[in-house]
């Protein structure tokens, strides 16, 4: 009993240095959250700025126009996050079937090249998209030559299916990269299990269904839950480069909205306030999801 306790303390001592790092780099700077309660604007010091209480927390909902805008922004955020959650199994299945490819050089090739888009910055992705989809670009030229259309289609300017298109871009860019995690998880499966199944006469489909997928499902669930808790953050770079005045109504997600709103020094307090709200939502969601996980899978994920 006492020995166990002692062991517990010793194990804690092992991780203590890392906990200290976390405290310094992630928790200590949180004192900066108090900027959200002031009209802060550099280069003034905080003490020279007026204390405004919760002003910035209800700034975005203090009249009808803003409420309407915020509603649309949240709708977009839910839509785009929802789509990626709905298809979150894609990288996993990508990895599973990739693993089934027998020709190893080809497998390696596919695995390598599908990570390439991850390295192309969004700015450059947009330049390429523009070259391909502009009024005289390859796609329009092909369609016109084929007689399918007679006026160029303004793909990038259209406000239709924006969420879906954004999801497609994101999948193209990230699927191969995200698959790496699942490939690792698959490699971690005990080969003896698979060999045993094969000896029992299971075809590949059955092996996948009964062995591969159940083995990597824990990884999938943990990642899914971690992402779910983060659904308010879509990042903004992708949407920033693809936004224009014609599609903005459907592309403006929360992160981009805050960026556009809080540009320049004067927006620092507002951006901080929204950041706090987002964190609170995420942490609450995390706790709820953990409960859900406990109830359904019998174990929490954190």
């Amino acid at each position: 009993m006492n020995k166990k306790k002692l062991r517990g303390y010793r194990e804690f001592l092992y991780v203590l240095p890392f906990i200290i790092l976390v405290l310094i780099f992630a928790y200590y700077p949180l004192y900066g959250w108090r900027y959200a309660f002031y009209d802060y604007k550099p280069p003034k010091t905080l003490s020279e700025c007026a204390f405004t209480g919760l002003k910035w927390f209800h700034y975005m909902i203090d009249n009808d126009t803003k409420r309407k805008q915020l509603f649309q922004v949240l709708l977009n955020t839910f839509g785009i996050s929802g789509l990626s959650m709905l298809f979150s199994w894609f990288p996993m299945m990508f990895a599973v079937f990739l693993n089934e490819i027998k020709c190893k050089p080809y497998q390696k090739f596919v695995q390598t090249v599908t990570t390439l888009p991850n390295f192309i910055s969004w700015v450059l992705v947009y330049s390429i998209a523009f070259c391909v989809f502009n009024s005289t670009g390859v796609v329009n030229t092909l369609l016109q030559d084929a007689g399918l259309i007679d006026k160029p289609v303004m793909f990038l300017q259209s406000s239709e299916h924006v969420w879906f298109k954004m999801w497609l871009w994101l999948t193209w860019k990230n699927a191969g990269w995200a698959a790496i995690m699942y490939i690792a998880a698959i490699t971690g499966i005990d080969e003896e299990l698979i060999d045993a199944a094969k000896v029992d006469g299971a075809n590949r489909w059955k092996t996948i269904w009964h062995i591969t997928i159940p083995s990597i499902l824990p990884t999938y669930f943990v990642l899914l839950f971690l992402n779910l808790a983060n659904f308010l953050s879509n990042g903004m770079e992708q949407f920033f480069v693809f936004q224009n005045s014609f599609n903005k109504n459907y592309i403006q997600v929360l992160d981009l909205y805050v960026y556009n709103l809080a540009m320049g020094s004067g927006g620092y307090s507002l951006a901080t306030a929204i950041g706090i709200l987002k964190s609170v939502v995420s942490i609450v969601l995390l706790c709820v999801l953990n409960k859900v996980s406990k109830a359904t899978r019998g174990e929490g994920f954190i």
């Binding site: 194990e11 991780v15 700077p29 900027y35 490699t187 971690g188 824990p218």
Partner: protein, 309 residues
């Protein structure tokens, strides 16, 4: 080595479902591979084609007027080699430390016996979901002496909750007998970690290594904010500002009062897209070179039985 005969044995009795699946898989993956390769190929041929044509979107399938001035220009950026050294250093050191910390913490957080284990684990995971803002972060860094220090590239990312979660999930899938056996043999926590856990979780360590190496290699925000000492500039940062130099001309235009000289400098800078493309190729190339090293850990399956025995 020992697997080969087994695989061949299985191949002989191919199921029709398997064949259909193979064909479909090949087609789908070839398509996906093409969609991923083409843009990269597109970027590459544009960097070696006539810049005017490429700016007008005329180079789509084959390079035209092949030249290498873009690469020469990039290689002429002053102190590129120093920046390269810094980038390699931060990538190597940062990755080693991050991988070690992720593996170790991922393992330690599976230990039910640890004093307040859940609290510490949650404390770490929660950091994924908040961000203090850049001003307090900057001031903190300055106060603890990391401003203009090489370690500003390394220390803040050593404990990365996402990688820890990945490692922990993986460690949990390792059969308990394995560690129990080691413990019974008298191995301590550390010994079990190095002798039993690390060999088994190598695939996920390779993943973490790739992720964190690429993140380190690509990062320039930290240099931007926290480093003004030019000796510590990284390759990515040097290239980033080379790109930006060409594209942040709006302010230049709005502030200058001499139209004629301005016009000249603008025309000079108008090939930003080619520059951006060249930089992309230059940056990605080293990553592709080290890729196979990591990949080795993915194609070999783990034989837990072999470790056990």
């Amino acid at each position: 080595m020992s697997k080969e005969p087994k695989v061949k044995a299985v191949k002989k009795k191919q199921d029709p479902v398997d064949i259909v699946m193979s064909v479909v898989t090949y087609i789908v993956y070839s398509f996906f591979a093409f969609v991923c390769v083409y843009p990269f190929y597109y970027i590459f041929i544009n960097t070696i084609s006539n810049n005017d044509l490429s700016a007008r979107g005329k180079v789509t399938f084959i390079p035209i007027d092949i030249h290498f001035t873009n690469y020469v220009n990039v290689s002429n950026i002053p102190s590129l080699m120093d920046a390269f050294r810094i980038s390699v250093s931060r990538t190597v050191i940062g990755t080693i430390l991050t991988v070690f910390a992720s593996a170790f913490l991922g393992y330690m957080f599976t230990k039910e016996t640890m004093w307040h284990r859940k609290l510490w684990y949650r404390l770490v995971v929660a950091t994924m979901y908040f961000n203090a803002g850049i001003i307090p972060f900057f001031i903190t860094m300055k106060n603890i002496g990391l401003y203009n220090s090489f370690w500003v590239y390394i220390l803040p990312t050593v404990v990365s909750p996402f990688y820890i979660v990945l490692c922990k999930t993986f460690v949990e899938s390792v059969p308990a007998e394995l560690t129990d056996a080691a413990m019974l043999d008298g191995a301590g926590t550390i010994k079990t970690f190095t002798a039993v856990i690390i060999p088994v979780i190598k695939p996920i360590l390779a993943t973490v290594a790739i992720f964190s190496a690429v993140a380190q290699w690509n990062s320039f925000q930290d240099t931007l904010l926290l480093v003004s000492d030019t000796k510590l500039f990284t390759l990515q940062f040097t290239l980033y500002q080379y790109i930006n130099q060409a594209s942040s001309l709006k302010a230049l235009v709005n502030s200058s009062t001499s139209a004629a000289s301005l016009a000249a400098s603008l025309a000079h800078a108008a090939t930003a897209t080619s520059i951006r493309m060249t930089v992309t190729i230059v940056v990605v190339f080293p990553i592709l070179l080290v890729y196979p090293i990591f990949q080795r850990y993915f194609v070999k399956g783990i034989m837990i039985g072999a470790v056990k025995g």
